[in-house]
């Protein structure tokens, strides 16, 4: 006579310390083993796309910051490239370089949050504070250039809102010099820690085919072994002028594509971003950043899909313009929205504690998922 075991449904969220925002995961448990995960989203839906239809083109930029609030520069970058293609504007060289520097600084800041919260989810609270101490320095850099720390409205259509602050270059060099030893120290305390490895290696393995079929992009796809980065494969702005590698998951501590790989790819990406920033600062040309900003923005009728490599993956804007001063339709392909679909696939057969580890490695931001 087999004992009738009834599956227990456990609701994790929407108010839960480690779901990175307002996400409700409905876990069906058989004992401690997960049989099904159903993510419920929509708690942070602010109808970004409906707003775009009543705003003029430059007014949409503060709204794009609020989607992935941890990588606001990247969001602006994507939208602005799309509208510039519509208008056919060519931006001065200096603006392109500053945009790349800002995007890469934002990538480091966003990865620091991802790594810090991932450590905190697994239980190591100290690296979280070390990461945030370094991130504060990047926010200070943003603050002296454009005045804001999180939502910048800095990259405009055709240029930038302010030129670089006089001692921005000096402070950035100082930050990079002090950040490198901190990164090594982070590896000592978290990356190679045996308990951290036990908790993350061979957990939530994402094979490459499922990753491509699910449309996963960004560090998650690279951790599964595919060298795919829009900065190299669909080059935009001046990324072709810098040489940097694309780190790929090699399964050092487990199999390729497990949570540890996703974490480690982000650590390596931070080192690559430092390289890009150093080269960009070295080759920074002079010029006026606000010269190409058009007074009246009325793009011709047409549609364009522009995409950018955000810290969480490929962020795409499908902009349809009907010739008036406000966009007819803006559809955003948010990387976290697409990456979150894989949660059910990854968490099956794992324990409750692993769901937190996997969700941390997927690194989603709910502002972007719900838009």
């Amino acid at each position: 006579m087999s004992v009738k075991t009834e599956e227990m449904v456990l609701n994790m969220g929407p108010q839960h310390p480690s779901t990175h925002g307002v996400l409700r995961l409905e876990l069906t448990l058989d004992g401690e083993i997960i049989t099904k995960v159903v993510p419920h989203i929509g708690y942070l839906h602010r109808c970004f796309e409906k707003h775009c239809e009543v705003m003029t083109y430059p007014q949409v930029i503060p709204y794009t910051d609020r989607m992935d609030y941890l990588a606001a520069m990247g969001n602006e970058f994507g939208y602005v490239i799309g509208v510039e293609k519509l208008l056919g504007i060519q931006v001065p060289e200096r603006v392109e370089y500053i945009r790349v520097i800002m995007a890469e600084l934002q990538r480091i800041a966003s990865h620091l949050v991802a790594i810090g919260t991932y450590g905190a989810d697994i239980g190591a609270f100290t690296p979280f504070l070390y990461c945030f101490r370094d991130r504060e320095r990047i926010l200070n850099l943003f603050e002296i250039t454009c005045g804001a720390r999180l939502l910048y409205n800095y990259i405009w259509i055709g240029g930038l809102s302010h030129d670089l602050h006089p001692d921005f270059i000096r402070l950035t060099k100082e930050f990079i010099r002090e950040f490198k030893p901190n990164l090594k120290e982070l590896n000592n305390i978290l990356t190679y820690n045996k308990i951290f490895i036990d908790r993350t290696a061979n957990v939530g393995i994402l094979p490459l085919e499922t990753a491509i079929n699910f449309g996963i992009t960004g560090p998650m796809l690279r951790a599964s072994g595919l060298r795919w980065d829009l900065r190299k494969d669909d080059t935009y702005s001046v990324y072709n002028k810098f040489d940097f590698e694309i780190p790929v998951g090699k399964g050092k501590m487990g199999t390729v594509g497990d949570s540890w790989d996703r974490y480690y790819v982000r650590v390596l990406e931070m080192e690559e971003s430092i390289k890009i920033i150093e080269q960009a600062i070295a080759q920074l040309p002079d010029g006026d950043v606000t010269s190409a900003i058009p007074k009246k923005i009325k793009p011709p009728v047409g549609h364009i899909y522009s995409r950018v490599e955000n810290p969480r993956g490929e962020l795409g804007y499908f902009i349809i313009s009907d010739g008036s001063t406000s966009p007819f339709r803006v559809k955003v392909r948010a990387p976290s929205f697409v990456n979150l679909q894989i949660m059910d696939e990854l968490c099956r057969g794992h324990l409750v504690a692993d769901v937190i580890a996997i969700l941390g490695s997927v690194d989603i931001v709910l502002g972007e998922v719900d838009r």
Binding site: P58, I61, G147, I195
Partner: protein, 173 residues
């Protein structure tokens, strides 16, 4: 068996390495400051509360149009031909009475889009960031300098003026 001992060794080794890091941080100076007593100096491009210098404001409504959240409300009344409203700092002659100029700081998203189009640069961002209120309506700041009776009085002059012009036009035909 080898893997068994390897596990033990790496476990202990990485624990001690981690402990060395935290011990070193026990003696490095902390980064936190005691906020209310010690305040960090803000950079000069800081974006906090808006301020409108009303003598320069010509009531052109550029900032209200540029605002993505429509938190600026401006109402103006045309001045009578004879009236002299004084000049803005850069010498431009003012032609409109600004009877209502309110900014709702509960809605404002501090994006600074209103500062750039202003022709006389009378709206700019200060570095005041401690202005929280208990009641949301207190966050609606009214910058207009005219007192309430003056506002009503301006409206009446304007209607009287239009009325006169109508009668004159009728009279002439």
């Amino acid at each position: 068996m080898k893997e068994y001992f390897n596990n033990i060794f790496t476990a202990l080794f990485t624990i001690f390495v981690g402990m060395k890091v935290t011990l070193r941080h026990l003696f490095t100076p902390s980064v936190t400051i005691q906020y209310p007593d010690v305040k960090l100096p803000l950079p000069e491009r800081e974006r906090n509360r808006l301020y409108v210098n009303m003598d320069d404001c010509i009531g052109c409504d550029q900032c209200a149009r540029a605002c993505p959240v429509n938190c600026i409300e401006i109402e103006t009344v045309k001045s009578l031909p004879g009236e002299d409203l004084g000049k803005t700092s850069n010498g431009k002659k003012k032609a409109l009475w600004v009877t209502k100029f309110t900014i709702d700081f509960a809605k404002c998203c501090y994006c600074q889009l209103c500062v750039f189009p202003c022709p006389t640069e009378c709206i700019y961002m200060t570095d005041v960031y401690e202005f929280s209120e208990y009641d949301r309506n207190n966050l609606i700041y009214d910058f207009a300098t005219l007192t309430t009776e003056e506002r009503i009085q301006k409206l009446e002059n304007l209607d009287k003026h239009y009325h006169e012009r109508e009668t004159k036009k009728l009279g002439r035909i």
